[in-house]
């Protein structure tokens, strides 16, 4: 924010030396907790995410560039509230929340209610986010994250996060988050409604992809035209979901 000249605070408080905030772990109930000082690089190398949370595991290596990932954090990315940020759409697709702590104790805020506008959150001035929580999957977790960027480290032209939980072939819960195609992260709720209760057939995927593209509010800029970005949302949604179709051997 300071580098972008969006903020010139009189005082900054560095949380880097606070102990015990660099964790990410799974709780007994299956929820995944990411502490405020857990770096992108920790999540990129995490065997926990690789085995339990495919949407987060897919996004971690695509955030910024390898050197920035050594310092940046998931919680910091959420609080930065950049409409082109990767983690926000991932966490929206997971129905995740953050825990804010201030003088008056702790409160939990759903990620989709955290952001008030570009680079603005609903945190009080004396609150910080201490952790993010992805709830336990309702069944088996599947998903992915795809992003188009002009080069590594550039802002996302379009990013699409898809998360589904399923029992057998039936989708019990779904989430789709879109980055870079609106003034804030977009939750493609109509597309999600098509998925829940269905299984991944070609028709269902095509309809979900189409509805996700309709939910996007892209603007034409130097990264591409609005119609191009909208088309990318459809292609990415469809591509992620198609990869999740299980072959008959896997389903058996």
């Amino acid at each position: 924010m300071i580098k972008l000249r969006f903020a010139s605070p009189e005082m900054l408080v560095d949380i880097n030396e606070i102990p015990d905030l660099d964790y990410h772990r799974v709780d007994a109930d299956g929820s995944i907790h990411v502490g405020a000082l857990c770096r992108h690089a920790d999540l990129e190398r995490s065997s926990l995410l690789a085995t339990r949370q495919p949407t987060m595991a897919a996004a971690a290596p695509l955030v910024a560039d390898p050197i920035v990932r050594n310092r940046g954090t998931l919680v910091g990315s959420l609080c930065h509230a950049d409409p082109q940020g990767d983690w926000a759409s991932v966490m929206v697709s997971l129905d995740a929340s953050v825990v804010a702590q201030g003088r008056n104790g702790r409160r939990t805020i759903p990620v989709r209610e955290l952001v008030r506008g570009p680079f603005q959150t609903n945190l009080a001035y004396d609150e910080i986010v201490v952790e993010a929580i992805a709830p336990a999957p309702m069944g088996e977790a599947a998903g992915g994250y795809l992003k188009l960027e002009r080069r590594v480290g550039d802002y996302a032209t379009v990013g699409v996060a898809v998360s589904i939980d399923r029992t057998g072939d039936e989708i019990t819960r779904a989430g789709i988050g879109l980055s870079g195609v609106g003034g804030s992260t977009i939750s493609a709720d109509d597309a999600v409604q098509v998925l829940v209760g269905s299984s991944l057939t070609a028709d269902v995927i095509a309809e979900a992809a189409s509805l996700a593209a309709q939910a996007a509010q892209p603007r034409t800029d130097h990264r591409g035209s609005a119609s191009y970005k909208r088309q990318l949302v459809s292609v990415f949604t469809s591509r992620i979901l198609t990869r999740l179709i299980r072959s008959e051997e896997e389903a058996a």
Binding site: D14, D65, P66, I67, V68, N70, R71, V152, G153
Partner: protein
């Protein structure tokens, strides 16, 4: 030391808040009194005159200012100097020995891994971190590790070759 010139309003407080920090730079413990807003890159360049660390974009895009903080590559234009207090920093000046170049530097020379040279210190420090962790990287792994460092001259091919050359030399030693 922290700024050569600073105009202040006539009623401004006379004292700028400062903090004393101690940083191990290239193996040597060094202390300085700095303004909290001083960036690590500027501490190195203007404070300690270690001008090998370049500031290219000042927005953590280009990677020219990459140094190792406790062995991990970071972009020093995105850290405050006070955040390095008590930590270990290695800059490109720390690579060469008293009489000979580091294998990475030799590799960049042998394989023509630089043209204008502006990105080179950052490239070398990112390469150092890679080779410390993975002494025998593939071409893809090198390109991945250097993807946060921009070069406008070489097209990257010779940089990749330089790192491969250095890996081989280090292996033979």
């Amino acid at each position: 030391m922290t700024s050569l010139f600073q105009e202040v309003s006539p009623g401004a407080a006379a004292e700028t808040p400062t903090r004393q920090i101690t940083v191990t730079i290239n193996g040597e413990r060094r202390s300085a009194v700095v303004e909290p807003r001083l960036l690590l890159a500027h501490l190195l360049r203007q404070g300690f005159h270690l001008t090998g660390t370049h500031t290219g974009c000042d927005t953590s895009n280009c990677g020219a200012c990459t140094v190792l903080l406790d062995g991990t590559p970071v972009k020093s234009c995105t850290l405050f100097a006070v955040q390095a207090d008590g930590h270990d920093v290695m800059t490109v000046e720390g690579l060469a020995g008293p009489s000979e170049l580091h294998a990475i530097q030799e590799g960049f020379k042998e394989e023509h891994g630089l043209q204008c040279g502006f990105c080179t210190p950052g490239m070398m420090m990112a390469s150092k971190a890679l080779l410390d962790e993975n002494p025998n990287p593939t071409e893809d792994e090198i390109r991945w590790a250097l993807s946060g460092n921009l070069c406008r001259c070489t097209g990257y091919q010779n940089i990749v070759k330089a790192v491969m050359w250095a890996a081989k030399k280090l292996e033979d030693q």
